[in-house]
Amino acid sequence: MSQPIRLKDHEKDARLVRSRVVVGAVAVVVLVCVLVARLYFLQVIQYDYHSTLSENNRVHVQPIPPSRGLIYDRNGVVIADNRPSFSLSMTRERSGDWATVLDTIVQILELTPDDRIIFEKRMKQGRRPFEPVPILFELSEEQIARIAVNQFRLPGVEVVAQLVRHYPQGPHFAHSVGYVGRIAEKELKSLDSVNYSGTHHIGKTGIERFYEDDLHGQVGYEEVETNARGRVLRVLKRTDPVPGKDIVLSLDIKLQEAAEAALDGRRGAIVAMDPTTGEVLAMVSAPSFDPNLFVTGISFKAYAELRDSIDRPLFNRVLRGLYPPGSTIKPAVAIAGLDSGVINASTRVFDPGYYMLPNYDHKYRNWNRTGDGYVDLDTAIMRSNDTYFYDLAHKLGIDRLSSYLNKFGVGQKVSLDMFEESPGLMPSRDWKRITRRQAWFPGETLILGIGQGYMQATPLQLAQATTLVANKGVWNRPHLAKTINGSPPVDSNPMPDIVLRDPSSWDKVNHGMQQVMHGARGTARKAAIGAQYRIAGKSGTAQVVAIKQGEKYDRSKVQERHRDHALFVGFAPADNPKIAVAVMVENGESGSGVAAPVVRQVMDAWLLGPDGLLKPQYASSANPEAAAREE
């Protein structure tokens, strides 16, 4: 007998599927009945309610923008507030032929065709249907009156009171606090469209941009009943917005003004920091501009003037200006030499006025052509001896040098909350191979030792590197915000502290920097005359135009804009640092002659009381008399 063959029972399968078809059909009918019931509910039972809602378009949901958080300086002086201002807004859907209405507005207010182009651009950025778009800000009394008289010719046009950002301090904080501006089309895509539904401005630069989320707040909304012309008759329901957080900055307006005064109209950058906390006390990029211009929309002409000015007022020199740090980097190089053991404090190098690599005939010159003779570390820093640092850089080699300078923040963003910061550049073997496809040459290491060559740093990075020498390697990222709604900003990506094998190395370099200011042959001794406290400092020069081998820098031959930038960094009081300052004077030529007095003035403004003496809280904790005695 063959095995029984299991046949598929097609008839049974068909019956099964057919029964499921019936179940499916019943389900379909039941669910369609549910839909019809729902539609019956909406269209018959609730008909009156919905037709009132829709036919007259009476009920609107209107967003209520939150008021933007205020910004204060460290003493509570307002830097950014919100001022009520009347603006002209237009609702496209109610204006009929809105292009004609725009023409009428231009004619009534006697505006220019340029303004009309701006209006049109703003109208095209309207987002939600029936949302009024503000087209003209800061209406004068007269303009309001003209609009009111001609209201009948202007359907859909309204005068609205709004809060608009205002910067009472004008240009003082344009580069640190930044400004808000109208939301651009591009930004719109990446924004939370709900939260920004009532907002027309957004932080564009600086603190305003970095802390945009905190400053903005949460949108509220109200359901309002309007008449057919769009006027609000009554509010049906309201949810209040949550205002943005207030920010207290670490900047000090008096120090800021003193720093600006110290620059005395020259172009340049100043950063003053509290080395114990990383708080930025003053931040000057001169010349500056009035941020209020940007809030309500700057005219093409005014913007072109700012943009094309040879002085570049819009350029943030503190955060984006890249300069070879010059001799100001020598303290950090000295730390690298001491910590890696290639030198000690008493290592001496003979300086004939130049340095030569073995087997090369290129002369790397000291700035002092006659040479300083035998120099040790202290003298090398005091005299800013290039030969000593050529030798030191050669002993260190590029790998150790660049790894140490990285720890000082060169070549990376150092700040906690500054939006535009440029990372600068700390060259290395890998960097050169990748970007230039070339091997590293020993000569390039030498000039790095005196802060020239490929290396580039911002004034902020110079200030931070100086701060690290002042506070013995403790990293606090420089920050502008002291508190946000009462709580300090949090560093999500802290830098590791610089820990030396022998912490006394810090004191040796510190001493050398004091000699710069107070030593008999110190390069910047003139800037320290009459100081009430000990200063540690270092001058530097950032070349603008390269000097050929054997050529001499002759100031009379160099055009003013091609002259070297003067740099100076320093901190004080030297044994108990309370302020660290970095100064860059564009085309100032002499670090010790031009930039050092600026640093001194900033320090005086911060450290001295009204009586011209050191404020007691800044006096050295160890022995207050010591500083005075060494005067």
Partner: protein, 381 residues
């Protein structure tokens, strides 16, 4: 003398029964008439919903033309031929989904497209809307019915892989439709009721887990907004509030064609795509929507008749699933626009603007027609 057997064989009402022209080109008359009616109605509503945009109408009509060509082409293929290719197409479809997952082209914030510039640009997930039920139908048609647990589990695995890949895109609407199309095959194959009930009971904890581990914030937001549209009147809730107002203000007979205020004053977002039923409801009222529902019901009815009459088990299962999935489209879309269901981005079949979905839907109806018109006449005696 002729035997009785000879007489029957020679009778022309069996073997020589003349196939009609439509049957010879493998199209189904009732379905074709209903589809053309829907297409005409769609253009009517779309003209109003798009603000009298002729370009849009021409694009939609073109897509419909392309869809008809796809439908007619697919209808020529024998179901047996389809069944042979389905497993390979399934594997290709899943691979394409993986490709999209790895390096897909970014469109509208979600990665759904395969884009070879100048050659082709399509969504593999659309392709799977037909391949998914066909794969399960192919698999189950070789087993005994009702399916054993082992086969059910394997089927669920086959459904699960593309489902998860599409959820990850993320495209919740499409993934749920594909899940539905696969499980409808299981249902048609006689999945035991007690299993169905226990799965439904188990779905609750799974739903809770999905909420916490799988869903993206915007999907959670959609559900929260659905439960309480008032909570977000400026965002997602806006659509629901406005579409309800549009439908409700239509009343029984509607405001008349081109006279809807909500849609014309741009109150209603996406009025020509997912929310087009609101325009229909506003301008043609309850009567208009019911008329549309009647056409849909007739399409579904015809689909179920085709299911019942299909000769092969593969045909039965596939036809049943495609028909039921079509109903899911209708129910989910109208349910979401009228505020019964969450907003999951399912278009209203044949009415919403959008070429991809038109072509997919018409292809599905091409499959139905193929199943119906390739029957062997002898079996109908």
């Amino acid at each position: 003398m002729k035997s009785n057997f000879d007489r029957i064989l020679s009778s022309d009402d069996v073997m020589r029964r003349r196939a009609t022209f439509l049957q010879r080109i493998h199209l189904d008359g009732p379905l074709l008439i209903l589809l053309l009616t829907l297409a005409a109605g769609s253009l009517f509503v779309l003209y109003s919903a798009s603000g009298k945009n002729w370009d849009l109408l021409i694009k939609q009509a073109t897509s419909f033309g392309i869809g008809l060509v796809a439908m007619v082409t697919i209808a020529q293929l024998e179901p047996r031929f389809m069944a042979r290719w389905v497993p390979i197409l399934y594997v290709i479809g899943v691979m394409l989904l993986v490709v999209v997952d790895v390096m897909g082209h970014n469109a509208m914030g979600a990665t759904r497209w395969i884009n070879i510039p100048g050659v082709i640009r399509f969504q593999p997930s659309e392709f799977l809307k037909i391949i998914m039920p066909a794969t399960i139908a192919w698999y189950l048609s070789k087993r005994t019915l009702p399916p054993h647990l082992k086969h059910v589990v394997l089927s669920l695995g086959l459904i699960g892989v593309p489902f998860i890949l599409i959820v990850r895109q993320p495209d919740l609407g499409t993934s749920l439709l594909i899940l539905a199309s696969g499980t409808f095959v299981l249902f048609m194959a006689g999945l035991r009721w007690r299993w169905i009930i226990s799965v439904v009971a188990a779905a609750v904890p799974v739903a809770v887990a999905m909420w916490f581990f799988i869903m993206h914030d915007y999907q959670k937001q959609r559900i929260l907004t659905f439960l309480d549209p008032e909570s977000d009147p400026l965002g997602t809730g806006w659509n629901i509030i406005q579409s309800k107002a549009a439908i409700g203000s239509g009343g029984v007979f509607g405001k008349g064609w081109l006279l809807g205020t909500q849609s014309h004053l741009d109150f209603l977002p996406e009025s020509h795509t997912d929310f087009i039923i609101a325009v229909l409801g506003e301008e043609f009222g309850l009567v208009g929507i019911c008329a549309l529902l009647v056409i849909y019901l007739m399409l579904i009815g015809r689909g179920l008749v085709i299911t019942a009459q299909a000769q092969t088990l593969f045909g039965k299962l596939l036809a049943g699933s495609l028909t039921m999935t079509f109903f899911v489209y209708v129910f989910v879309n109208i349910g979401m626009v009228s505020g019964l269901l969450p907003v999951v981005g399912v278009p209203l079949p044949f009415i919403s603007y959008g070429g991809t979905s038109l072509v997919t839907l018409l292809s599905a109806f091409g499959v139905l027609m193929s199943i119906h018109t390739h029957r062997k006449w002898i079996a109908q005696v």
